[in-house]
């Protein structure tokens, strides 16, 4: 169902299944490198992972430039480093401890991260090795010792040495003993941050995250460190917004499974989002952030880390990217899945699904060539796919996740608030306390009145159920007939478990001008518990005015003046006339 609808949204502009592009979303960017209004695709290609790393540039369907990279790229961004005309962005490729900056696709500058503190013990040990005081085996033992207890970790060189077989050690020591011991960290992620203006082509600082759990902000022209911030863990992905000189916010997903939010004022994280599983994608959409996790979930958070929603995906996430189309005011999140699908989400709602011939490993959306809405994907097998969003494509928010139904958000045509309503509301707001008291008082009075009436009813045996313990009785009355003669049946039951009731009588009280009764006083036989005794009598209505009245029934105990039971019988209107 969704497949057919998505064919109507995207045009297949280009697909090269053997483009030989092996990369991740962090190493893709779109930039106008030629200054002729055509945007190009810049890719940091990881090659085989150990060789063939390249910086590639695509224009339209063609690869137009290719140059070798010395190390695996960890991230790639295009950014404006100066105000020179024509406005052509530079490309920064982060790999190892360095950022390589390219201008006009030619190497321009190399920034290297400052070295880290070196363990002095380690330095001493190597010094001894250098002077020939210890042999490689002793060196190994001593380094192992240092590695176990030192708080400053060993240098890469020492770690490499420790991993060698005994046969290779000699050679390694000979090769490295003259070099000073240095400890270098590497870059794990890179982003850009506008320096002082929010303009599209404003000068941007580079923001880099390192294995040593630091974030550095670099000056765009001089490449000096403008700010350093520390994190509790190694950053893996980040999103940067704002301007360095004004106000900025860096959201960093870290290897401890948390997301930290850094602000301009502080060099420590301001907020922390603790996730239940590791983040694999981080995309900011406006003021909220969408995080994809290894537990096949997608979660939304506010800028301050408050969780908004969570949905479960059909497959593990391979990559994520934002889909931002300012010309149409459209923002959403693209999620590449291991089941050869790319899904588009706006908040927690699935808008569309794109099926791909292979698992997508990187996604990038933006202006490519002259098309603003271009989706670029590379696949696990090295393919390159370009899709263009149709001019007429529209995404409807169908709510896929369980939750409040869509109808709930439809606005009702509620009439305007009247003056009366507003006045009442005001009154309620102002006199809330007094109103509550008055209500409570009335409620108490009502309860009191109810209780009083109940007690009275019990006292005067006005109920059809006798509460007396010695004579527990129940009675109901049935009136039969149309009139003027009625048959009155009283069903009396002794509700005691085993004691019979004796010496009872029934008497009636009625308006003698209206009714005539054959036997206004009757004796009741002994009542065996549980059985229902019907007591019948006849009533004659003497009036022909079509009026009716109440007949009161009293169940009496001989020798007592208070009735055990009272019942009021509402007599029906007589519908016939007495024959004379």
């Amino acid at each position: 169902m969704s497949e057919s609808s998505d064919d109507r949204k995207w045009l297949d502009a280009h697909f090269d299944p053997v483009a030989g592009l092996y990369t991740f979303s962090s190493c893709l960017d779109l930039a106008e490198l030629s200054g002729d209004g055509e945007s190009q695709l810049v890719v940091g290609d990881l090659g085989s992972g150990s060789s063939g790393m390249k910086l590639k540039v695509y224009r339209g369907t063609a690869l137009v430039s290719e140059s070798s990279l010395l190390d695996l790229p960890a991230g790639l961004v295009a950014f404006f480093m100066d105000l020179h005309e024509p406005r052509i962005p530079a490309v920064a490729v982060a790999s190892g401890p360095c950022v390589y900056v390219y201008k006009n696709l030619r190497p321009y500058f190399k920034f290297t991260l400052p070295g880290l503190e070196v363990n002095t013990l380690e330095q001493d040990v190597w010094q001894q090795a250098r002077e020939g005081q210890i042999d490689p085996l002793t060196l190994k033992e001593m380094l192992e010792g240092i590695r176990k207890k030192a708080d400053v970790p060993l240098s890469f060189c020492s770690l490499q040495f420790l991993s060698l077989d005994a046969s290779d050690m000699d050679e390694f020591v000979q090769l490295h003993k003259q070099q000073p011991i240095r400890r270098q960290t590497v870059i794990t992620c890179i982003g850009t941050l506008k320096k002082s203006t929010a303009d599209e082509d404003g000068v941007s600082c580079l923001v880099i995250g390192t294995e040593s759990s630091d974030i550095f902000v670099l000056d765009p022209e001089a490449f000096i460190i403008l700010a350093k911030m520390s994190l509790p863990a190694t950053p893996t992905m980040m999103d940067v917004t704002g301007q360095f000189d004004v106000e900025f916010r860096i959201m960093v997903a870290c290897r401890d499974g948390n997301i930290y939010i850094l602000r301009r004022e502080s060099d420590k994280p301001k907020y922390c989002i603790e996730l239940t599983s590791h983040p694999v994608g981080l995309v900011r959409v406006g003021k909220s952030v969408v995080v994809g996790c290894t537990d096949e979930s997608l979660q939304g958070f506010t800028q301050k880390g408050k969780k908004l929603w969570r949905i479960v995906l059909p497959a593990p996430i391979t990559t994520m990217a934002s889909m931002d189309l300012p010309s149409r005011g459209f923002q959403a999140v693209l999620v590449g899945l291991a089941n050869c699908e790319v899904q588009l989400y706006r908040d927690k709602n699935l808008l569309s699904t794109i099926k791909t011939p292979d698992v997508v490993s990187s996604i990038c959306f933006g202006r490519y060539g002259r098309e603003d809405g271009t989706l670029i994907m590379t696949t696990k097998g090295g393919g390159l796919m370009v899709k263009i969003l149709k001019r007429t494509a529209a995404f409807e928010d169908r709510d896929s996740a369980p939750g409040p139904p869509l109808a709930q958000s439809i606005r009702l045509n509620v009439p305007k608030k009247t003056k009366l309503y507003v006045d009442q509301t005001l009154r309620e707001r102002e006199n809330g306390l007094a109103m509550h008291r008055a209500f409570q008082m009335d409620l108490s009075r009502l309860r009191l009145a109810a209780a009083k009436t109940y007690v009275k009813a019990l006292e005067s045996s006005l109920t059809p159920v006798s509460s007396s313990l010695s004579e527990p009785l129940k009675m109901n009355a049935v009136v039969q007939g149309l009139g003027p003669s009625f048959k009155l049946t009283l069903n009396i039951q002794n509700t005691a478990t085993c004691r019979p009731v004796m010496n009872l009588a029934i008497s009636f009280l009625y308006d003698e001008s209206l009714y005539q009764m054959r036997s206004p006083y009757m004796r009741i036989p002994l009542l065996v518990p549980g059985l229902i005794y019907p007591v019948e009598t006849f009533v004659e209505c003497t009036s022909d005015k079509g009026i009716s009245d109440i007949i009161k029934v009293f169940v009496l105990h001989e020798g007592r003046n208070c009735p055990l039971l009272t019942a009021h019988i509402n007599m029906p209107v007589s519908e016939g006339l007495k024959l004379h």
Partner: protein
């Protein structure tokens, strides 16, 4: 040619024809129309068209009024408002922009399926422009990619052009003029 046309021709009165010039942005529409205008009326700088502009040029027997529409995405929804008035269509394609050939096809299909166009025998002239650019597609390849062979109920013609030098334009305009004249008689 009908007697009236001949007469009109002798008198210097020419039939007025409204032509729509359509195609994606940057395909060269304005450049082509500029080339067709008399050399003293030609503009020197050509900038991307905003909305649309109305241009006029004459051939031996017809006087063309061209609606040079902007091809930018945000203005493409203007096109359909002029379909009714158009008596012929010039559709320009940047044959060097392979990536957007699908977009050109999409817009062409939308045009052909529009109710103001669908049932009319309106002639369509395709200019596969920018043939001078290296790696540009041939006009045959362009007509394949746009599936022009599927247009059965309208006369159409495609020529490869270089609007900067004006090459190929005359052939197309001659074809268009013939079509319009046969339409009328």
């Amino acid at each position: 040619m009908g007697l009236f046309d001949k007469l009109a021709g002798w008198l210097g009165l020419k039939k007025e024809v409204n032509v729509l010039c359509l195609g994606l942005d940057n395909s060269g529409k304005t450049t082509i129309i500029n080339q067709l205008k008399p050399s003293n009326a030609q503009a020197q700088d050509i900038v991307p068209t905003i909305g649309f502009s109305i241009e006029k040029f004459k051939t031996s027997s017809l006087s063309f009024t061209v609606f040079d529409m902007s091809g930018q995405g945000r203005y493409r929804n203007l096109w359909e408002h002029y379909y009714k008035e158009g008596q012929a269509i010039i559709f320009v394609i940047d044959s060097a922009d392979k990536l957007r050939m699908v977009v050109a096809k999409e817009e062409l299909d939308t045009l052909l399926n529009h109710h103001d166009i669908k049932h009319r025998r309106i002639p369509i002239l395709f200019f596969a422009n920018k043939m001078d650019v290296r790696d540009a597609l041939s006009s045959v390849k362009v007509s394949q990619l746009l599936c022009l062979e599927n247009i059965k109920d309208k006369p159409w013609h495609i020529c490869a052009t270089d609007a900067l030098k004006g090459e190929g334009l005359q052939e197309g305009v001659d074809w268009l003029q013939d079509q319009i004249k046969t339409m009328r008689t």
